[in-house]
């Protein structure tokens, strides 16, 4: 496929989209039927479908010989490759990248993880993510040629391609600008990049049958992050930094935080901080597995630490809930599944903080449903629900200038 530029590429990309949409909604059909349905000439449709066939996005389903009455060469009927990967979700952590692929029916059809050392440069992380994506495609027979969109979660605020927005000096591990463009060019699809905790907030909001329109989400992990859904929309804030619950001061006299302040929520409620507090209370807890054992054994020192963490968390979440009046407050992260008492205590403290709100209007406080291993799913959820939950959200980055430079999967 030749590279095209400017308007031609845009037009072609729109035509492709129409053809793919027609096949997704209308099922298998001949090129003639397709041309009629999308309102393009047969020549244009043949050109487009030829390209899509070559890229593995669509396949020849059958010929119409069986149902054909007249004479002449039987017409081929085209359809989407049922194994076509339509949506890609990518979740970058500090030490691993997860990838999930969802099909046109929004089912997750493939997923995997690749690990890397903490501090691995971002260009290497991208290559690792590309390789993982292509390996998954190979193993599952998924064709990446028909990707509609890529959602990418990154740790920390993502400053995207906004001009003039500086890096954050104390957080050197932040994703750099340009990740969106790199993916858009690699896979020829629209890309949305945002903080992975924000995507998780959205995924939690839509995890019910009816989406929750006002939700506060906090995730306890290596750090503490958060995300807000207000009136059915993800909140970015004036400059894109909304949701930074981890750096709300929980105790002005607390321990030093990597951000420069003291006693931020992160210094109390991150997984490492909780494990450290357990050790300071004499419990030899080095990992979440150790913690799980102590919780099962009802270690009183560990229980006290976890209740303190829950109470501190409940106060910070309570102040946030007092201001935002959410329907739900969701506490995510692996540790809340290991130590559910954190959520129980946070809920109790938070309910007292909301004392002035009528008791008949209780906020739901619950553990997150998504596990840490579901990060890529959260990114895909953001794609599925781009409308209306992402209405007004930053525009997705689409492949730049030249036409999509598709990499053929090697299957």
């Amino acid at each position: 496929m030749s590279r095209r530029t400017g308007l031609h590429a845009l037009t072609r990309s729109m035509h492709e989209k129409r053809v793919l949409t027609a096949l997704r909604t209308g099922g298998a059909m001949s090129r003639a039927a397709l041309a009629e349905r999308v309102g393009l000439s047969r020549t244009t449709v043949s050109e487009i479908t030829g390209d899509l066939l070559a890229r593995g996005a669509i396949i020849v389903a059958e010929t119409d010989a069986a149902v054909r009455v007249g004479s002449g060469r039987p017409a081929e009927r085209l359809c989407l490759d049922p194994s076509s990967g339509q949506f890609l979700g990518v979740d970058f952590g500090h030490r691993r990248v997860q990838v999930a692929v969802a099909d046109a029916a929004h089912e997750i059809i493939a997923g995997g993880v690749s690990r890397y050392a903490d501090g691995t440069p971002w260009d290497e992380r991208l290559e690792i993510a590309f390789a993982l994506t292509e390996r998954l495609a190979r193993e599952t027979g998924t064709h990446l040629g028909a990707l509609q969109a890529v959602g990418i979660g990154v740790p920390g605020p993502y400053i995207g391609n906004q001009p003039g927005v500086p890096e954050i000096s104390w957080n050197r591990r932040l994703a750099p600008k340009g990740i969106d463009t790199a993916f858009a060019e690699r896979f020829g699809a629209a890309v949305i990049v945002d903080n992975n905790t924000r995507f998780a907030a959205l995924a939690e909001a839509i995890s019910h049958e009816t989406a929750v329109s006002d939700l506060v989400y906090v995730r306890l992990s290596d750090g503490v992050g958060g995300g807000l859904v207000v009136a059915g929309r993800l909140v970015t804030g004036g400059r894109g930094f909304a949701g930074e619950l981890g750096h709300v001061t929980a105790d002005p006299n607390g321990t030093n935080c990597r951000c420069g302040k003291r006693g931020c929520l992160e210094t109390v409620a991150s997984t490492p901080a909780i494990l450290r507090a357990c050790r300071e209370r004499g419990a030899a807890v080095g990992s979440l597995d150790d913690l799980a054992e102590r919780v099962a054994g009802r270690d009183p020192a560990v229980e006290a630490v976890l209740r303190d963490v829950g109470a501190t968390l409940g106060r910070v979440l309570g102040a946030t809930a007092m201001v935002l009046n959410p329907d739900e407050v969701v506490i995510g992260g692996e540790i809340v599944h290991v130590a559910p008492v954190i959520v129980e205590q946070a809920a109790a403290t938070l309910r007292f903080e909301l004392f002035s709100i009528p008791a008949s209007e209780p906020v739901v406080v619950r553990a997150g449903q998504l596990r840490d291993s579901d990060g890529a799913v959260g990114a895909i959820a953001a794609l599925f629900h781009q409308s209306p939950l992402l209405a007004g959200y930053a525009e997705a980055t689409t492949p730049a200038g030249s036409g999509p430079s598709h990499r053929r999967s090697t299957s």
Copy 2:
């Protein structure tokens, strides 16, 4: 004017609106020109304009005798009464109601205040507001017949006409349900009712040439209230209680709050609390005027109290700003004009709380531009900016079932 029901009333009301809009945008014109412009029959237009003339919404500007070439009776040219009150803003406080009237050009053309005893029942307050409105109309020659909309600010959360939402037991002075209907029926206009602090937040957000899309507003008054604008919209929260900054716990070991908790921001930063703290430090301060004197005289005890208040306020606002990442934080209430050091100290503390946000992205912290006496203006601002700032906001209550039962102003 006879009372009409159902569809007929609705149709009539829509026709009226079209006629008024045509006159507002097109200036004076004859009934024939009007009929052509709004696409209604001359008979219908004559009926509608007859009604509007009787109600004082429109007037006869002139006849076209001067410009007329042919023969016959000169046609009357109609126009909006230039003194017509088009928008009504009402702000109920605990001890007074303010009313402001804005004309079609959004200029405030009349305003006034009536006082009542604290604890005055709401039905009496409504009658006082109606009487004030009609007196203002009389004094200024304003006709209330062409009111387009009424914005009403009330203290505390307004639970409106949502079924099943309970009263808040600790706050007996809350506005009861049905205020919207009462005004809609009295003036035959659409009505929006909400917490007056929320309206003030909106008014502050649009007080610049370019509206601020993310703003946190707190008002220090008899109590402490707040309002949020997120992504250009007023935030109501899941159940309508968003913005309750006054009952965020500022000091868990603080003094008792009327809500049942201890150390809510209101117990520290409300005007009575601040005056009380000054007295506890030996400064005989009984009123804002006394406070102004002490501030002018640089009383060190008073300065210390005000700085403590500012620091506490800054911590609470800092936590909120960390989560919401607003462009502006606005501190309103008469006291911040008397004691600007509160804002100065709050800004300093808040900036430290936001330490982890890049310093190149500073949030603006400022005193509110609207004075307490501008409450009704805030309610009107909400009407003017119903779109897009109120997009998705609760629907305005329109006059019920029967057609508008207009009260003629007695001018």
